[in-house]
Symmetry: C2
Subunit: 201 residues, 2 copies
């Protein structure tokens, strides 16, 4: 006998589709929300609803933002001659937390991962080249701050090849970062050291 | 600099408020949804929205349902002389899966837990007494299927006291070794119960 109401099954299914959430956790979450006042589920629904409606990608750096250009790109005090290339918006957050970086960013939205079918054309690498070429103020340095893992290294190498012979200097974050780690989980001091000790590729 | 858009922070906060989801998981989920088409977040939002709107509690057994009475209580083929008392709607599901039970249910929505401030008056125990007394068909048996832990036992004992001297028989689910289990890994209490409740082959 079908004893679970369809809306309950539906929500369990939706939760299960999220990464790292299995059917057991999904049903726990659903019954938790069911036991709690409707406002809890409503406010989560609202936040989800607003996510894509109010968040856009900055047309210059491709970071997530509520405005285009984003606050960083729009800020006249930032050093426009340096671009820090990262994989994800969370990485921008991590670097901003160090308060040691005052240049601009460029968010690739991933890294080259042939096993997952992610090639350079799936990332904002072409956009980076175009941006550097058409920049009103010459870009002197590109800090390639992709993750210190296989995919991140491959992406850094690919980007370095794109700028071979160009006037721009390419640097990489210092090996203060633990290999196999994830940039967004690095603590501020480690990340700060890695920034100051960056080396030319 | 505030580089994370407010809607993103808001969704991370909302996810973090769910049980078992920390800030790291919450931000992973948020950025996952941000990377995916808006429809993913929308369909989750919709499912959340419908949860409380379309799901009601059955006025007889207090199980969750899309209709009142619920399909079990409305089913004329179910044995109305037996009521199985469980803590949560998920327990009804577990018992239904056995296909061995054909009586009705009564969902308490919790168990007595003094440390968490949950007393008998917070559960549907008074409703159970009223239901048994006013049942058109006499209730012959109440199977108390609360969880085999401290809270479940306390709740079972409390319910048993409520029906002392009544014509209804109160039973408890058998205790013993779980099927497919390994004797050497069974805890002492389970093994002790399995021994004392041993049956002839």
């Amino acid at each position: 006998m079908q004893v679970t109401p369809v809306p309950v099954t539906k929500l369990i299914d939706e939760f299960s589709r999220l990464p790292g959430i299995g059917p057991k956790t999904a049903s726990r979450l659903t019954f938790y929300l069911l036991r709690n006042p409707a406002e809890r589920a409503q406010s989560l629904a609202e936040a989800l609803h607003e996510l894509h409606q109010k968040v856009v990608f900055c047309s210059q750096c491709f970071n997530i933002s509520e405005s285009d250009p984003c606050p960083v790109c729009a800020d006249e005090h930032r050093d426009r001659s340096v671009i820090c290339v990262v994989e994800e918006p969370l990485d921008v957050l991590a670097i901003e937390r160090t308060r040691d970086y005052h240049g601009l960013y460029h968010v690739l939205h991933g890294a080259i991962a042939p096993t997952e079918g992610i090639g350079p054309e799936d990332l904002k690498i072409g956009e980076l080249s175009a941006r550097v070429q058409s920049s009103p103020e010459p870009v002197k340095e590109i800090i390639v701050a992709t993750n210190p893992n296989l995919e991140g290294e491959a992406t850094a190498m690919y980007i370095a090849r794109q700028f071979e012979g160009a006037a721009v200097k390419l640097t990489r974050l210092a090996r203060g970062l633990p290999m196999g780690g994830d940039l967004e989980y690095a603590d501020e001091i480690t990340l700060s050291r890695a920034l100051s000790g960056r080396s030319e590729i």
